[in-house]
Amino acid sequence: MFSNMHLPRYERIWLTIGITSLFIFLIILGTLAIGLGLQPPGHMKTVPPEQVRTSAPFNKPALVQIGPNEYKATMVAQMFSYLPGELEIPAGSTVHFEITSPDVVHGLYLPHTNVNIMVIPGHVAEFTYTFKKAGDYLMLCHEYCGAGHQAMMGKLKVV
């Protein structure tokens, strides 16, 4: 089918090296994902946006301790704030975020961490992260959500 397509020798070598590295790279990504469970945030749970404020668990957004050094942050991202807007945990704590939106698309992003979550109305996004270092972390919305987008922020204090 491709018999009269000529691939020069050097191009063969170049492509062999390139394609081999590509597959090694993909195998590493796959191993990290499946072997070490390093997955980007997501989840298949849904909640209708109009029920966010009235039904559990998002009617009472809060940070709850669920074990030694382990917390669950049930959060609502709304125009233009987070509920709860300020969290405090001891250093070394693992936080399980679950977050949704009652209105438009938002984001929850903590600079200098891997917490980078899209908040889509209708869906519950989940992500787990361990805060090893003490400090004042900034929570900010990183998806344009309207006129007050640049003011949408919260704080997470690791003590």
Binding site: N4, L15, I19, F25, Q39, M44, L138, Q150, M153
Partner: protein, 558 residues
């Protein structure tokens, strides 16, 4: 009529008056969109970096919407379609098919009307939804109708291109089509397949919902349709630049086209691996399971293969051209390149910047690494060195000879030198701006955000010095854009008339090159494989969304 035109090796071209009008209309409209886009771009950049405060009747997000829509959607589409028509006229027998020109004009006017409707809504602040128009933010229905007209108009442009190609194939049975025409068809095949996604989103979700015919919209489904279109959109920008790199640059540097088959295969691979991959823009969001995200990450990365083939072909072309001019040593060919010819230099600068741009793209699409950069200024930096450097520098180079060609004028040494200054300034400005964006993105500054210090939060303080560089870079870029437009006005209206025929460089294929395999020209096969890949990559998650994702009522949050 076909005497000069049968000779494909000729650099000369005499456009027919109908074709001239059609192509100039597209280019002229593109340049107006470019002007609007760069003005909005400069002002929003200076606002977000803290240089200026906007008057209360202009919103930051309004300007950002105008910047994105005019440059990413309007300028690119009009310029690309005009450029493809010109190459078809040159390589398919000297003139476009009159029946196809009719279709092309209808497409043009639909796109113009659509653009004007959209811009009007942006100006009245009724469509401050950015160029991704994510639901459930709801713009005026007129904005969505405008977008639909642009998309459907561009389909007619695609049909006009197919008609020209089909006509040529019928008149030349058994021959393989000229490389430019083949690639133009491939570009439009990609465009037609990918715009189906945004058309479904706009026609069946956004328009009925914005008119109040439906009260809710499936947000995740609309995002999926958008990104099914949004990623190949960037390849729709890139492929015309590749056409210039593969087909025209060899002629300009005094070389030959490296292979007549491999570039065709490359374009086919771009179609296959740029479409079923939109989920890599949605890695950070719920509603799509990890398996489907990962599958599309793998398909995304396969685009590395045609990219490596392109890199090899281009450097080989450069080296062979240099050696044929007597270059010695391992890198002697480098000095033989035409470093004073803007048609080459601007393009070369774009190619060079495309190397780190490609590497950044691998970072963005990496399943886990995306968590570090998603929706930060790293992403904005990335697409400013792809579309706004690699692609636009190539489009500058094209415009510098295509505009005088169509106006029967000369690319004078003055215009060439002004162009050289302009493309170097653009490159410097873009390196300053996008390097700062990449770094500050990794430091956590979000994209698409008006000036803010987050109540002087320490995490945001470290961004300050980079904002200075981003702002300075944007000013330099704007100056370059103004120089470009001045040069284009000169070439359009004032440059001296050409003697008889004008330059239209089209590379020749080396005589030893075998005829390309016929299978490459069997479009049904490749379209079939593309559709099969799309079905595999999308069916299950889309059905799941359609059944399970809750709907959202409209919100105007600006």
């Amino acid at each position: 009529m076909e005497n000069t035109l049968r000779d494909r090796s000729s650099d000369q071209m005499s456009f027919h008056v109908q074709d001239r009008r059609l192509i100039l209309a597209h280019l002229g409209f593109a340049f107006i969109a470019f002007l609007i886009g760069v003005v909005a771009g400069l002002v929003q950049a200076l606002q977000r970096t803290g240089f200026i405060t906007l008057p209360s009747n202009i919103g930051y997000y309004q300007l950002l919407t105008a910047h994105g829509v005019s440059l990413a959607l309007i300028f690119t589409t009009f310029f690309i379609i005009g450029y493809l028509y010109s190459g078809l006229a040159k390589t398919l027998g000297g003139k476009l098919l009159p029946s196809a020109n009719m279709v092309a004009w209808i497409g043009f006017y639909m796109m113009v009307i659509g653009t004007l409707l959209g811009l009007m809504m942006i100006i009245t602040n009724d469509a401050t939804v950015l160029y991704t128009f994510y639901a459930p933010m709801q713009a005026s229905p007129i904005f969505y109708i405008g977008l639909a007209l642009v998309v459907v108009g561009s389909w007619l442009s695609g049909i006009a291109i197919f008609m020209n190609y089909h006509h040529w194939r019928k008149k030349h049975p058994g021959e393989s089509s000229p490389l430019f025409a083949y690639m133009a068809v491939a570009t439009m095949v990609l465009w037609l397949i990918c715009t189906v996604g945004v058309a479904i989103e706009v026609l069946f979700q956004l328009i009925p919902w914005s008119l109040g015919w439906t009260d809710k919209i499936n947000v995740e489904l609309s995002r999926t349709f958008f990104w099914y279109f949004g990623h190949p959109l960037v390849y729709f920008w890139l492929l015309p630049a590749y056409i210039y790199w593969y087909v025209q640059i060899p002629k300009i540097i005094g070389g030959k086209i490296f292979s007549n088959s491999l570039p065709r295969l490359t374009f086919i691979l771009f179609i296959l691996y740029s479409i079923p991959v939109g989920f890599h823009h949605q890695l950070m969001e719920p509603g799509v399971s990890s398996f489907w995200k990962f599958l599309q990450v793998v398909l995304t990365m396969l685009v590395v293969i045609p990219s490596l083939m392109t890199a090899f072909a281009l450097i080989a072309t450069f080296e062979l051209a240099g050696r044929s001019k007597g270059a010695k040593g391992l890198f002697g060919w480098f000095t033989k390149l035409p470093w004073k010819d803007v048609r080459f230099v601007s393009t070369f600068l774009g190619m060079l910047i495309f190397i780190p741009a490609g590497a950044g793209g691998v970072v963005n699409a990496s399943f886990q690494l995306d968590q570090v950069v998603h929706n930060t200024l790293f992403i904005t930096g990335h697409f400013h060195i792809t579309i706004a450097a690699a692609v636009i520098l190539t489009f500058f180079a094209i415009a510098y000879w295509l505009v005088p060609s169509l106006r029967n004028r000369q690319l004078t040494p003055f215009a060439n030198n002004l162009g050289l200054i302009q493309c170097w300034i653009w490159t410097i400005g873009m390196l300053i701006m996008s390097t700062a964006m990449h770094i500050v993105g990794v430091l956590g500054e979000p994209r698409r955000t008006s000036y803010t210090t987050y109540n002087n939060h320490p995490a945001a303080e470290v961004w300050e010095p980079y904002r200075l560089f981003t702002g300075i870079g944007s000013i330099i870029l704007f100056l370059s854009a103004v120089l470009f437009l001045i040069n284009i006005v000169y070439l359009w209206f004032f440059a001296p008339k050409a003697e008889s025929e004008v330059d239209f460089p089209i590379g020749e294929v080396g005589e030893e090159q075998p005829k390309p395999p016929a299978i490459l020209e069997r479009w049904s096969v490749w379209i079939g494989i593309t559709i099969a890949l799309v079905i595999i990559a999308y069916t299950i998650p889309v059905i799941h969304m359609a059944q399970h994702a809750p709907g959202s009522p409209p919100i105007r949050s600006w």
